[in-house]
């Protein structure tokens, strides 16, 4: 970094703080749209009347979390293949918001489906594969969210931290499996996620071999 002419270096990254603000807004947008649709009958986002608000909450937050996880996984391939090194600056936000939406998703299930009754919650988790893998996916996200700060990177050291954050791969696999296992028939969306995930994993292997 020191070898770069200072003017060039700073000019090159000038836009990053703005992009970060834009990204924050973009990543919060799904939450606002959801609130608007449910509390204000879609006055701002123009959605239709919501027949089943809880279903909407769960589908909306589940899909958002999974998409953000996959976007997070796409960062490294983009850097390597397209040379978009700046993308690394945004990866943490993808991850944190994936956790944010996954947590809304899970909490809505705790509250609306089970009214926080622990017995039925455990029963469901143990009896149903698709809930079990969803739960594993969410539980594994917790340590990653906790250790996402600079302080924790320092405390763990880059190597350990990296190894821990490799967990994002099983997390995404479990998330996709969670969706695949819950549908009655082979539906389009879970298949699309599966394809995206397989491509990302394949690209990763290919990059590693090179």
């Amino acid at each position: 970094m020191a070898t770069l002419p200072p003017t060039l270096s700073s000019r090159k990254r000038d836009w990053i703080p703005y992009a970060k603000i834009a990204l924050w807004i973009a990543l919060l947008a799904p939450a606002f749209i959801l609130l608007d649709r449910i509390l204000l009958l879609g006055q701002f986002s123009g959605g239709n009347f919501v027949d089943d608000p809880v279903e909407l909450i769960q589908h909306w937050t589940g899909n958002t979390a999974l998409i953000l996880l996959l976007l997070g996984l796409a960062v490294t391939p983009m850097r390597r293949l397209l040379g978009w090194n700046w993308m690394i600056r945004f990866r943490r936000l993808f991850g944190l918001f994936a956790f944010f939406y996954a947590t809304m998703h899970v909490v809505s299930w705790f509250v609306f489906d089970h009214q926080l009754a622990l017995g039925p919650i455990f029963k469901d988790v143990l009896e149903r594969n698709w809930i079990l893998v969803g739960m594993m996916s969410w539980l594994l996200l917790i340590p990653l969210a906790v250790t996402s700060t600079v302080g924790w990177i320092r405390r763990l050291g880059g190597k350990k931290w990296n190894r821990l954050h490799q967990l994002v791969y099983p997390i995404a696999i479990l998330g996709v499996l969670h969706f695949l296992w819950q549908t009655k028939l082979l539906e389009r969306d879970p298949v699309l996620y599966t394809v995206a995930l397989v491509i990302l994993l394949a690209v990763r292997r290919w990059i590693r071999r090179k």
Partner: protein, 306 residues
């Protein structure tokens, strides 16, 4: 608005009230999850809403949800797809072929078939196998009356209903999600039960295409998928017919499909359900609360005959 809690079934609330009520319901539900956002006035009106006769807290599901949130895979697998894709569906002229173990074996026009049968309003709970439910004011006649007209033979033990097969009008049939056409069936005694109706309308209006126009079956103590829609064939049989969901995934969908909180679906519990529009689940009822059908299944193991 009616102020008593048990309106006569024919007391159809004007649609304008339903249309307004949807927002009351929503606001009331929101209030019930903890916000005291709404003044007491809404609650008062909420409480005076029409109720299902004989039950204490079943409130009609708004027209918009009844006709906008549908499982009708012939028009797509999304809940909003049928409303979107069924608008140009042609239901006139419509004919229905009656065949099998029956004396009146021929093709009827829709008018011919329903002519002379008494249409009444029935407010029924509708419980979907997926774990959600509605309360719907159907207009229809007892299937029993129709069957008596048609005169099944001694050998008729089952009645089978087939939905229209028409790939151009029903785009969902181009997708192999289910073995088309959709077929459902009942045991003859189930079909003859006075609760079983053939539906031609909802909310006092002609049945919209997304709800199975021009004619569908409703069996309120069974999961919703038993209610075949847009029926073009009625066949009386000696042996139990093959039915679509049962054929597609036998482990998950049985022939009987009686609402039963004690028999879980392999992927979810059937002990509770979410009434559309509400946030919390409520307990599901055996036979969807229509206990009078219990004698039909006396001596049967309902966990095996799910």
């Amino acid at each position: 608005m009616p102020t008593n809690n048990h309106p006569h079934p024919s007391e159809v609330t004007p649609e304008s009230i339903y249309m307004n009520r949807r927002s009351f319901i929503r606001r009331a539900s929101v209030a019930s999850i903890g916000g005291s956002l709404i003044a007491g006035g809404v609650w008062a009106r909420h409480k005076n809403a029409p109720r299902v006769e004989g039950t204490s807290d079943d409130e009609l599901t708004p027209w918009e949800t009844v006709t906008g949130y549908n499982n009708f895979y012939e028009f797509g697998t999304g809940k909003g797809d049928p409303k979107e894709n069924a608008q140009d569906f042609k239901t006139d002229p419509w004919s229905i072929e009656v065949s099998g173990e029956v004396s009146e074996k021929r093709t009827f026009s829709f008018e011919e078939l329903v002519d002379g049968l008494t249409v009444e309003e029935r407010i029924y709970r509708m419980r979907c196998v997926e774990g959600w439910s509605m309360v719907v004011p159907w207009n229809g006649f007892m299937l029993k009356d129709l069957i008596e007209h048609l005169g099944p033979t001694e050998d008729a033990n089952y009645v089978e209903f087939t939905t229209l097969m028409d790939r151009t009008q029903m785009p969902g049939q181009n997708s192999p999600v289910l073995p088309w056409p959709y077929v459902e069936a009942l045991r003859l005694d189930e079909a003859m039960h006075p609760l079983t109706i053939m539906v031609t309308g909802v909310y006092g209006k002609k049945l919209p295409p997304q709800n199975g126009a021009p004619i569908r079956m409703i069996v309120p103590w069974k999961y919703g998928f038993k209610g075949a829609k847009s029926i073009v064939k009625i066949r009386f049989t000696k042996r139990q017919p093959r039915t679509t969901w049962n054929e597609a995934i036998p482990r998950e969908y049985g022939f009987y499909a009686n609402v039963n909180p004690e028999v879980d679906h392999p992927r979810w519990s059937q002990a509770s359900e979410r009434r559309l529009g509400e946030f919390f689940r409520r307990d599901s009822l055996m036979f969807n609360g229509y206990d009078e059908v219990a004698p039909l299944y006396e001596g049967m193991d309902l966990s095996r005959n799910y």
